[in-house]
Amino acid sequence: MKNYSEMSGCGLAGFINRNGERVSGKYIFDSITSMKERGNGMGAGYAAYGIYPNMAEYYAFHIMIDDLDKITEITGVLNRFFHIVKSELIPTKSISSLYKKTTPPLFYRYFVTPKNDVKLPLETEEDMVVRAIMTINEKIAGAYVISSGKNMGAFKGVGEPDEIGEFFEIDQYQGNIWIAHTRFPTNTPGWWGGAHPFTVLDWSIVHNGEITSYGTNKRYVEMYGYKCTLLTDTEVAAYIFDLLFRKHKLPIKATLLAIAAPFWKDIDYIREKKLDKINELAMKIREVYSSAMLNGPFAMLFAYKDGLIGFNDRIKLRPFVAAINKDTVYMASEESAIRVICNNPEKVWMPKAGEPVIALMNNCNSDKCHPACI
């Protein structure tokens, strides 16, 4: 049952339990593995929220390293910014087929809490964490931070989704939001750091498609101190989210309006319909955030501690299906991937291009969470 891959696109799957009930990674494993066809074994990954309930107040750094000796350097950098509460190797299983493709790197995780006296002037705690991530990614050769949020983590590498899932023993984790990806690299190398999801703080993103505006976007986020080191276009999307969402505090819909901006002719149409405020907003966002717009075909799932958001490019050049069953909202590239883990959802639909599906936690209220509406 191997080597069935053929020309295809990437595949993505994700779900959120809006009540915060945690489920085993077995479900997302089954879902993404049913779409194995969409990848070619050159990358797969998972991100999960709610997996470290006993360490929820600490930043969990998952770090990918080429060899164990790098730990001294990494610990050195982390010690400058944080108190390290706990550090350990992420348990992995030997999956013989994985070693036929590449030698898997080592995965280490640190639970850390920031030191008080290391913030630069005007810097927030999150800014400081981002600075620490960028320092490790850029300054330590062969070490990459693959996730860094609280009570969440990413697990990814070069392999089929089932290989990677078994490698990290994904079924041993319990989470309330899960996203997963199977990759078919087209423009960039298939390497361990280039697998999805891409994360920064507790934002994580999986992406099917290509970002043809990568150069513009990269230069834009670099102005704000982000460093693109993972050789893949999707990385820049994670940083754009962090920038617009966290630093510029845009509401969710405004962020998506910047990233998948409507065509000018559609903005004109909004004006004709006399929706002046939305028209003005859409115009201003296109003007101010023109460099944050992602061009090219894509379907993306974007998760953070309060919710899961799925959206398409403006003309739907990649597949995207969503479903609801009670408190769980599912999103995937193919309907079958949803049906495999939830055979009879209450509602299944194909969202329109540029119309995001926003599934927030039930306990999300406007003062605690990010505003969803404009």
């Binding site: 049952m1 069935y4 049913s34 779409m35 066809e37 149409y269 003309i315 739907k316 597949p319 299906v321 193919e334 309907e335 079958s336 991937a337 049906r339 495999v340 299944v348 194909m350 329109k352 291009a353």
Partner: protein, 264 residues
């Protein structure tokens, strides 16, 4: 995957998450053994079902039919009890596909013959590049609504959109409808906003003669889904046809052909 023989020529395959290659191989094996009807149960997105078979067999699918259902279809009749994914009837030639649910994007892509009936909505780019030649006239009928790029670059055949489940205020079809269309015909039950239409087409009302033709065409659809043709016909239809003739005829033609007048 489990295979059961129900009677002399009917087989049942429980697919679950078996790989599509194994399922399709099994189907072909059974067809070679004289199967005339194959029932697929618990289908979870297996691709390419029905392709590579020339016998006029019946295939029943229970579950979610995978991408490229009935691609290059050449005779079989496929009925899906459930939804189907993208690219239903891709480049199909002969036969019939019935979907009792919705279908995804790019349904009927490059279709050149046969019939596809979808009960519910369809996604984006449906009926793009359909074509027809002499006795090969494909028909694609959709009971629900369609997304953007409906009938884009259509070159032949009939594309009928009914919007039976449409609620008030909902568009029956999306933007860029019939963009670049240069052949065939589209019927839409209801109005199509001018701003959604491509530049290459015009809207016409249908006359009595055409109404009768449309009725004939709708009979098959109404029969399959237990609807009445009269009720479907009770609302006015819009006809969309191209106003240009062979706009791309010279695009790939050899210079000599044009110069000598062989290609006009």
């Amino acid at each position: 995957m489990e295979v059961k023989q129900l009677n002399e020529t009917t087989y049942e395959i429980v697919c679950r998450t078996a790989h599509y290659k194994i399922v399709n191989q099994k189907i072909r094996e059974l067809v070679n053994k004289n199967a005339s009807k194959i029932i697929l149960r618990e289908v979870f997105g297996q691709r390419y079902i029905g392709t590579g078979i020339k016998e006029p067999i019946k295939i029943e699918i229970h579950g979610i039919a995978g991408n490229d259902l009935g691609i290059f279809l050449y005779n079989p009749k496929i009925e899906v009890f459930g939804n189907s994914q993208d690219c239903v009837g891709n480049t199909m030639m002969k036969g019939e596909i019935i979907v009792r649910g919705h279908a995804g994007d790019v349904c009927g892509y490059g279709m050149r013959g046969g019939k596809v009936y979808i009960e519910g909505d369809v996604g984006y780019r449906v009926g793009i590049h359909m074509k027809g030649y002499k006795e090969f006239v494909p028909t694609l009928i959709i009971g629900g609504k369609a997304g953007n790029f409906f009938g884009e670059y259509m070159a032949g055949g009939k594309l009928i959109l009914l919007g039976l489940n449409r609620k008030t205020g909902e568009d029956i079809v999306g933007d860029y409808c019939a963009t670049g269309m240069h052949g065939g015909i589209i019927y839409v039950r209801g109005e199509v906003p001018e701003k959604y239409l491509g530049k290459e087409v015009k809207i016409f009302e249908i006359d009595e003669k055409e109404k009768n033709l449309l009725k004939e065409e709708l009979k098959g659809f109404a029969n399959r889904f237990g609807l009445s043709v009269e009720e479907i016909m009770s609302k006015p239809f819009t006809k969309i046809v191209p106003v240009s003739a062979r706009p791309y005829g010279r695009l790939y033609a050899h210079r000599w052909g044009i110069a000598s007048g062989v290609i006009k």
